[in-house]
């Protein structure tokens, strides 16, 4: 068999050199050269980074995420047509979790839809699906009077996450962060004063969003290398007194797993539909029309064959992505979509697809780990929920 050799182009964020300088362990993530964890010599490592976000604060370079802007008189109609949540409910400055669906009701991607202005929306999409998403959005909105722009390369996106994220970010912005509710956005000036150097970034987009099941913010700054490095280093500096750690994709994954937040290619994909993924509350069937709606109506009537459950390993062993799930007698019934030790909960946890008959809390199942069925039990979802703010 012959094949055409394609040299993969490794993509880098504007902070790549900064990560390498800090001694981060780098990995290929969907074609992006990204930090998976920072070195133990500066107090990092996946577990410490994870704990910093749960109990203090951590920062992540998430510039590999993509951004699509829709603006114009029919921007809302376009967003409504291509996404499953109801964007008409968004006030200016508000954001919502949503998804782009194929006509079969399966996932193109999950997204956060931000309403930035009266007729202006920003969709934040996954790194691995940037081009696919943009082409899909452009192709499916051509009938609407609005412009569709791929702004993915315009921003360095930095996530500041954890209960102390607000304290850290407030140190460098004049925006009143206490007035920004979760899943709302604001614009503010970011001050980057350092010793005698005084710089600031005006009109910076600041969203109270994240992917860690913790309070936090994501800021969108210009993607040139000096500015990006300046913001990153300033956050490290002002975060010191709060125990801030730089965090890589390793901790990002364990944090989102504890919060049972879906990851494209794992819990959701182009072969899994909304009902199977259990994302019903973000899918507004009462909306007049959107791509995938008709198929979802039929799928709902037919009922699901598999459903996502949260598993806790009760036997000794760690479930990993792709491992088989068995019933008590060792018959294969499903598979693990994401599995890992949970650093904060100090348990081995997994998310898995199983038939609905096995979805009740307390159901005993097994996960096949290197040929052995290791006991696990279905537990309430999500594994971790952040404590309510006082």
């Amino acid at each position: 068999m012959s094949s055409v050799e394609v040299t993969p182009v490794v993509r880098k964020t504007a902070l790549n050199a900064v990560h390498r300088q800090m001694g981060a362990k780098m990995v290929d993530f969907n074609g992006w050269d990204m930090p998976v964890e920072y070195p133990a010599s500066i107090g990092c490592g996946i577990i410490n980074e994870h704990m910093a976000v749960r109990t203090g604060v951590g920062i992540f370079d998430v510039s590999h995420m993509g951004d699509i802007r829709l603006a114009g008189p029919q921007a809302l109609a376009a967003v409504q047509h291509i996404s499953m949540n109801d964007a008409s409910r968004l006030a200016v400055g508000q954001a919502q979790y949503s998804a782009l669906l194929y006509p079969q009701g399966t996932f193109v991607d999950d997204v956060i839809v931000h309403r930035l202005g009266e007729d202006e929306y920003l969709l934040v999409i996954n790194a691995g699906t940037r081009e696919k998403d943009f082409n899909w959005v452009r192709d499916n909105t051509s009938q609407f009077n609005c412009v569709v722009e791929n702004l993915s390369d315009d921003f360095t996106q930095i996530a500041i996450q954890g209960p102390k994220a607000v304290d850290v970010l407030q140190k460098i912005t004049t925006a009143d962060l206490s007035a920004v509710k979760f899943y709302w956005v604001t614009r503010g000036t970011i001050f980057l004063h350092h010793k005698s150097m005084r710089r600031y970034l005006g009109d910076t987009l600041i969203a109270r969003t994240g992917y860690t099941a913790e309070d936090g913010f994501e800021i969108y700054v210009p993607s040139d290398e000096p500015t990006s490095a300046w913001v990153w280093n300033r956050l490290l500096e002002v975060g010191k007194e709060f125990g801030l750690l730089p965090c890589g994709l390793g901790a990002r994954n364990t944090l989102r797993l504890e919060g049972k937040l879906p990851l494209y290619g794992h819990e959701i994909s182009d072969t899994i539909n909304v009902w199977e993924a259990g994302l019903d509350r973000f899918c507004k069937m009462e909306k007049p029309e959107f791509i995938g709606r008709a198929a979802l109506e039929k799928a709902k009537a037919a009922g699901v064959k598999q459903t996502l459950v949260d598993l806790e390993m009760t036997g000794r062993g760690i479930a990993r992505d792709g491992y088989k799930v068995q019933d008590g007698d060792g018959r294969e019934i499903g598979y693990v979509t994401s599995g890992s030790p949970a650093p904060f909960l100090k348990k081995n946890i997994a998310i898995a697809y199983v038939p609905p008959d096995f979805a009740a809390i307390g159901t005993a199942v097994k996960v096949e780990i290197r040929g052995q069925g290791v006991e696990a039990v279905v537990v309430p979802s999500p594994f971790y929920k952040r404590p309510k703010a006082k």
Binding site: K25, I318, S340, R370
Partner: protein, 129 residues
């Protein structure tokens, strides 16, 4: 980190320290650094027969599972029980945290393994690629 000269090394990043016909086996500082936070070490049962170059257990970090390859053949005489409750010891003190002790079947097998100097060179070359 310097690799102790009192033992031999494999290209799979295990070390073996022989004392007559018995030997201790563990993983190197480079291995623990590559793996990251170690959360689980699975070791063979005492009495198990193991073969040079074949897996004798596994070590899991938060991110991934890695097989452990035995530097030599023999019979397992002891495993380090502390690692069941404190697997992070392998991160903290990789060259002090032995995983198993074996009765060597053929002590001359160790002659083919890397010296500390050669292993250090091997790691440096690997990092350069």
């Amino acid at each position: 980190m310097a690799y102790p000269a009192d033992r031999k090394y494999t290209k799979q990043h295990e070390w073996i320290q022989a004392n007559g016909t018995s030997a201790s086996v563990g993983i190197t500082d480079h291995a623990q650094e590559e793996l990251g936070d170690i959360v689980f070490v699975e070791l063979p049962k005492v009495g198990a027969e193991i073969t040079a170059g074949k897996t004798f257990g596994s070590v899991e970090s938060v991110k991934a599972v890695s097989d452990l390859y035995s530097p030599a053949s023999g019979t397992v005489t002891e495993t380090n029980g502390d690692l069941a409750t404190s697997p992070e010891n392998v991160n903290k003190d990789p060259h002090g945290s032995w995983m198993m002790k074996i009765a060597l079947k053929n002590p001359s097998e160790l002659d083919a393994l890397l010296s500390s100097v050669d292993y250090e060179k091997f790691v440096a070359e690997e990092a350069g690629h």
